[in-house]
Amino acid sequence: MKPTERDALLPADLTHASLTQRISALVLERRSPLGWWIAVLICAGLTLMFVLSLSVLFTVGIGIFGLNIPVAWGMPILNTIWWIGIAHAGTLISAVLLLTRQPWRAAINRFAEAMAMFAIVCAGLYPVIHLGRPQFFYYLLPYPDTMGLWPQWRSPLVWDFLAISTYLIFTASFLYMSLLPDLATLRDRARGWRAYFYAVLALGWNGSAAHWMRYEKTTMIFAALATPIVVTVTGIISLDLAVSIVPGYHFTIFPPYFVAGALFSGFSTVALLAVALRSLFKLHDLVTPTHLDYLGRMMLLFALIVSYAYTQEIFVAFYSGEDYYRTVYFDRWTGPYAPIWWSMIFCNVVLTQLLWFKRVRRSPMALLCLALTSNLGMWLERFQIVFTSTHADYMPSNWDTVWPTGWDWATYFGSLGLFGLLLLIFVKLMPLISMHDMRALIAKRQASEKSRDEASPGEASHE
């Protein structure tokens, strides 16, 4: 990497001490900005709505949602797919960018990982909500029961349960481990009850060479595991649909198509959080336009893959020669859900072309808007997959049109509030930028400056 690019990622006067002071002061000293309180208030209200709609759901039953035969999956499953997709970019940033040694991950990996964690929590709740008898969700586990029954291993729903649980445990372990050195920093700087709080959480991390060696080794193992996890989790979720014979679901392209869509919405959400957090906590010099530029490029890359998947899906539907598959497509374009399909194309295919322009990628406002439309577009994509495929399948006597109810929306916006609330609490309790990763980046810059000075003592000042 050229030295100028690394310089653009770091403020010129940033030292180890000033970085530690700034980031830990956000947690330990600075009073929360007004925007944080307003956001907490809104998110807490939405979370209460979530609790309320779940209470109604558990007392009244699954009938309060817009679910019916033939659309038996509706909003809960669409939201599971959407939330799990958002989680994936956090994992990819922490793992794949680590393996490929990209310096721009250092400033954004912490909140990307936290985002992944809380998105999985939201994603994991939905299938349980959707069960109808949620108290029996543990039937999916192979435990020694008195009924003498085993889970149905050939069912994608069992794979789903195992994959999402694995993903949750992985993300929690990864997030906590990368927090350990930073918790130690907070422990050493906090006073009073906070010192005890962070001392217990830091588990006695002291930054010895042996600690770091095993830390690095475990990080590399986790990074190597992250890619197969990302591919299996969303791949398996797509198999929930693709393994069936429903036209509109039954495509072999689904696993890679879903993974690309997941990463697209995930990178959009990272960009959204990057823009929001940098202005909320005045981190404009640490999360730079260069970071936004890279995030914009990732959004564009995955938007293009998603667009390609759309064309391939249409091509396969017509090339297969199956009447039912073609009908699904004509129905998507002209049927009752057509506005959803065309809005999806507008958000995911048309609007994202703006990301070809560097000025758009480097503008926080433009990127924020595109991140919102991309997430909306991905939500609409999941909507059209789940609704249009099932509402009209082989038997016309079986056709029906179903729309989400008020409780569907209450649960959905409530889960958005829960996600926001968890994230807002997280950034007040934990450093929202990974201090040890930034320190390593600063040390690299110092080393390269030193070698440049030694190579050409006279010219160094001109660079």
Binding site: T20, W159, L162, L203, F222, P228, T232
Partner: protein, 184 residues
């Protein structure tokens, strides 16, 4: 008990503070050549050369993780096959009793899960965490080990008073900005 002997028994080691990683690495190499073996180095971010200088190597974590994940994959596959083909044979959707593609998928997912858990717990066990106490935590300047300074802790449990004093001046010669005694 006289004051001199009680002082000596109260020492755990000498803690030297260094400004940068390079000075710390040079100090470690020199002290090791001079016969000091019980050295601990601390840094605010991972520095690979520190372990080379200390002569510390450890490979078991990767190997144990690999073995654990392979064992869990094999065990899972066996459990799934036994339950679906032997203990409760039940044909669903015309699929064979031994449907290896989904069975392998489940084995793969659980292998990843066991690798994650093994690597994480292995990291904690290898680092002897959680252990909230370390002698160096008694020293105020050690707070900078998680901020911007590098530390070298030399165990002096078996050294005499004079040897400790010569080690102290040796650390200063090697570039330590501050040297302090650490109680046990």
């Amino acid at each position: 008990m006289s004051e001199a002997t009680s002082n000596a028994s109260k020492r755990y080691g000498l803690l030297g503070r260094f400004h940068d990683a390079d000075a710390l690495i040079v100090a470690i190499r020199t002290l090791r050549e001079e016969g000091y073996r019980e050295l601990e180095a601390f840094s605010p971010y991972p520095v690979e050369e520190l372990n080379e200088a200390l002569g510390v190597r450890s490979r078991w974590l990767t190997v144990v993780t690999l073995i654990a994940s392979l064992a869990v994959a094999a065990g899972t596959y066996w459990m799934v096959w036994y339950s679906a083909a032997v203990d409760y044979p039940f044909v669903v959707g015309g699929k064979p009793l031994h449907s290896w593609p989904p069975f392998a998928l489940i084995a793969f997912v659980l292998a990843i899960l066991s690798a994650v858990v093994t690597a994480f717990l292995g990291m904690l066990c290898g680092n002897r965490l959680p252990r909230l106490y370390h002698p160096a935590f008694n020293i105020t300047m050690f707070e900078r080990a998680s901020n911007d300074a590098f530390f070298l802790l030399t165990n002096v449990g078996t050294l005499t008073h004079d040897e400790i004093e010569s080690l102290r001046s040796r650390l200063t010669d090697l570039g330590a900005e501050d040297v302090q005694e650490v109680p046990p």
